[in-house]
């Protein structure tokens, strides 16, 4: 175990001491040892999943504290706590107990704020983690299943957040629930029944908060926990991917052993995430429910917004024109169906099946443990940025009223502009991103062939100026050479060589076209011969530099 020692000495200090102590005692258990010797690669973007994981743990802890005082009941009570502006107001027990947690329970407000900030962190970290997995191609074979689990986690995280946001029964959350009810009702044929079933009768009913409570503290967290475990076990089993670099191949993992270094680092990072969340929760208000007052159907407030991760759906609802059709006595509310069911349905389905779509288009069925640098998969990167920009347009529209007041704009003009931008910006982002990626690829190729520009300018004896180029470092060279070139599919054409129609030809040709679109513009890594030749040139160039001194 000489390598283990080497790392230990690198880590040195206390971690090493504790490490050795445990090492001595755990020695016998070879299974554990194998586990602890597992290696994890190192890159900051691999910690995004960890942020999600740690926020989830913070959520479980702070949420448990809140359950000790929260009363999930719609029974009407008269508030008699210490927040004066609401004293004597009739409200549900759910809202009253949330006020109590905020003003009369020790550390209650801090815990509420930790819980809510952690929820925002959780969904944000999951989303950004997803983006990192997407843009690096980490979802490719053999990790498709984990990608699907991840998609489910994202959907559940959003649902869990919305359920929690709705529990306090304040004016803001009640307004959100009312919209949710409208969306459920918009489901053709079944809508009204489903809504009646969910709410136990007319909105808001008397049962909904207690039902939501079971969902929020039991059902969804249970499923989340199970899926997160499965997710991590699979990561562990399949080993983590790594970026290309010196000594990194498809069949090894270069990084730190799980124990002790990775564990120490991960543990430390947990406390940093916890610390940052607590600090923010202690200093910055979130969801000041006391301002909103209890939910009453007769009241509304300007600037009602959901938490950020629902914002894009709210924005989609705000953008959709007021379309309705009447079919056999049933009203079909396209104005809710499209933005709240069809668009997210398409987005999440596309997300979940993306690995298979890409594999089909590219015909790439190999296993991948080395990641793509985003520039090296320009079409994928373009599609990703396109999806982000689409999402962003919807998100901005969710805050259209706040933007209108903040920048003195007309809300109608904002809405109309966004309706146009929603269709213009995403394709534009695709084209721009793809071009930028190809540009970067060309630069990478140049670097390999001609070295990097040192910034030193020389004047040659005959008066010409040249910039001195130097070969890239070995590490960078390995990164650049790690690029994975895939040729577009060459599938049968519509007719074979003899001019006879090929039965599979048409779909094959279409697929080849897609594949060409995906890979066609690729700037290939220089071949060995080209590199050889270039190395020769470069040596010559630096030689001329020396002679010119």
């Amino acid at each position: 175990m000489s390598t283990n020692k080497a790392i230990d000495t690198v880590a040195g200090g206390k971690a090493g001491v504790v490490g050795n102590y445990l090492d001595d005692r755990l020695h016998g258990a070879s299974g554990v040892k194998k586990l602890l010797n597992k290696v994890f690669p190192d890159h900051w973007s691999f910690m995004l999943g960890e942020i999600a994981l740690y926020s989830f743990i913070i959520l479980l802890l702070s949420g448990t504290y809140l359950t000790l005082w929260f009363k999930p009941s719609m029974t009407e009570v008269v508030y008699n706590g210490s927040y004066m502006p609401l004293k004597g107001v009739k409200m549900s027990e759910a809202y009253a107990s949330t006020l109590d947690i905020s003003f009369d329970v020790r550390a209650g407000l801090l815990m509420r704020q930790i819980h809510h900030w952690a929820a925002l962190f959780f969904v944000a970290a999951v989303s950004v983690h997803l983006l990192r997995v997407f843009f690096t191609g980490a979802f490719r074979k053999p990790r498709e299943i984990n990608w699907v689990i991840g998609t489910l986690l994202l959907v559940l995280a959003i649902l869990e957040g919305f359920a929690g946001y709705s529990l306090p029964d304040d004016l803001l959350s009640g307004t959100g629930l009312r919209i949710a009810e409208g969306i459920v009702q918009a489901i053709p044929l079944l809508g009204t029944y489903v809504a009646m079933f969910l709410f136990g009768g007319e909105f808001p009913g008397n049962d909904f908060i207690s039902r939501l409570y079971s969902i929020h503290i039991l059902l969804v967290p249970g499923i989340l926990l199970a899926l997160v475990s499965a997710h991590l076990i699979i990561v562990f089993y399949q080993k983590h991917t790594q970026f290309p670099g010196a000594g990194r191949t498809e069949s090894n993992v270069v990084g730190y052993r799980l124990y002790p270094i990775y564990m120490a680092k991960a543990g430390g990072f947990f406390f940093i995430v916890f610390g940052v969340t607590t600090l923010i929760a202690a200093l910055v208000t979130i969801n000041p429910i006391w301002l909103y007052g209890p939910y009453t159907p007769s009241q509304v407030t300007a600037g009602s917004q959901p938490d950020w991760y629902i914002g894009w759906l709210d924005g989609a609802v705000r953008l959709t024109p007021n379309w309705e059709t009447n079919l056999l006595g049933h009203t079909i509310s396209w104005n809710l169906l499209i933005p709240a069911l069809i668009i997210p349905g398409i987005m999440f389905t596309a997300l979940g099946v993306y690995p298979w779509i890409e594999a089909w288009v590219t015909g790439d069925k190999r296993e991948h443990h080395l990641l793509d640098r985003p520039r090296n998969a320009p079409t994928r990167t373009g599609l990703g940025v396109m999806a982000i920009s689409f999402y962003l347009m919807l998100w901005i529209s969710g805050g259209n009223d706040i933007i209108a007041t903040a920048f003195s704009l007309s809300i109608n003009e904002i809405t109309w502009s966004l309706r146009v931008l929603l269709f213009v910006v995403p394709p534009l982002s695709f084209v721009i991103t793809k071009r930028a990626c190809l540009g970067l690829q060309r630069r990478d190729r140049d670097k390999l062939l001609h070295g990097y520009e040192t910034g030193r300018v020389l004047r040659l004896p005959h008066g010409e100026y040249i910039e001195v180029h130097a070969p890239v470092s070995d590490e960078e060279r390995a990164v650049l050479l790690g690029k994975n070139d895939v040729a577009p599919l060459q599938l049968g054409s519509a007719t074979d060589a003899n001019g006879v129609a090929n039965p599979k030809g048409k779909s094959g040709a279409r697929r080849a076209k897609l594949s060409e679109w995906f890979y066609g513009d690729n700037v290939p890594v220089p071949s060995a011969a080209e590199l050889e030749e270039a190395a020769h040139h470069l040596a010559h160039a630096s030689h001329s530099e020396i002679t010119s001194h």
Binding site: M84, V89, L120, A125, V276, T301
Partner: protein, 258 residues
């Protein structure tokens, strides 16, 4: 009502309202002070009229009857003038979706004179008296409920204001004083509805004012309030500060590892 019963004295009573510091009821009750004020208001009305001809008549007409550039002011009352001119909305600089409030161009006595003049052309809601603005005994919780029922759909529950259609807006109320709030309710400027004493009684108006003043004073119990704009600023804060900080730490840890 007091006015119509005392028809012959209507002119005096109207002038009394116009004074700018007394309400109709007050004027009727405190008969002893009324004549003195009337005498004072007579010259005030004169002064107001000349100020009006100079600064307002181009849009509101020579007799406040209105024109294509501005509505008739007959019957808007002294409260409307005090609100509009006191908040700098009037005189309007030019065509705009909504008059913006800015420092007033007129002194307090000039505003009172303008108010007196406009009140003299037709009776309307009067500027509230100090008594009407007393909120010590007002019911804070009731004020909150009334505010959420009648006002928050435009001004938002936190009183921070909100967007209306076509570029109009309901302003932030965190800088308004009690008199402005009262006057806004009784005159209903622009898109704001009029809340007469029948829909919201004087006591209820006081309760709303007390609630708003409480909001203005309230220190945010949970820390920085992020403008009290709700989930939009919370989300922005999360991404820019919160997630930003964690990613910086992650990059730092990643860099240290090398």
């Amino acid at each position: 009502m007091a006015l119509s019963r005392r028809h012959p004295a209507a002119v005096f009573a109207v002038l009394a309202i116009a004074l700018g510091t007394t309400g109709a009821a007050y004027a009727a009750v405190s008969a002893s002070t009324a004549p003195k004020q009337v005498v004072k208001s007579a010259t005030q009305v004169e002064q107001g009229k000349s100020l009006f001809l100079e600064g307002c008549s181009s849009c509101h007409g020579l007799a406040a009857q209105g024109s294509s550039d501005g509505p008739s002011l007959i019957g808007v009352g002294s409260a409307a003038v005090d609100f509009q001119v006191g908040s700098g909305r009037m005189p309007l600089a030019g065509p705009a979706v909504q008059a913006v409030s800015k420092p007033s161009q007129y002194s307090e006595s000039e505003i009172a004179a303008l108010a007196a003049y406009v009140a003299s052309v037709g009776p309307g809601p009067a500027i509230p008296t100090q008594d009407m603005l007393k909120t010590d005994g007002a019911d804070l919780a009731l004020g909150g409920e009334l505010f959420r029922t009648n006002c928050s759909q435009c001004h938002s529950v936190s009183g921070k204001g909100g967007a209306l259609s076509e570029g109009r807006w309901a302003p932030n109320l965190m800088g308004a004083d009690g008199k402005e709030m009262y006057e806004a309710m009784v005159t209903g400027p622009q898109n704001m509805p009029i809340f007469s004493d029948k829909t919201i009684t004087v006591e209820e108006k006081q309760a709303i004012i007390r609630y708003l003043q409480e909001l203005q004073k309230q220190e945010s119990p949970g820390g920085a309030a992020l403008g009290r704009l709700g989930p939009v600023t919370e989300g922005l804060f999360l991404f820019i500060v919160g997630l930003g900080a964690l990613i910086v730490v992650a990059v730092w840890i990643g860099a240290k590892a090398k």
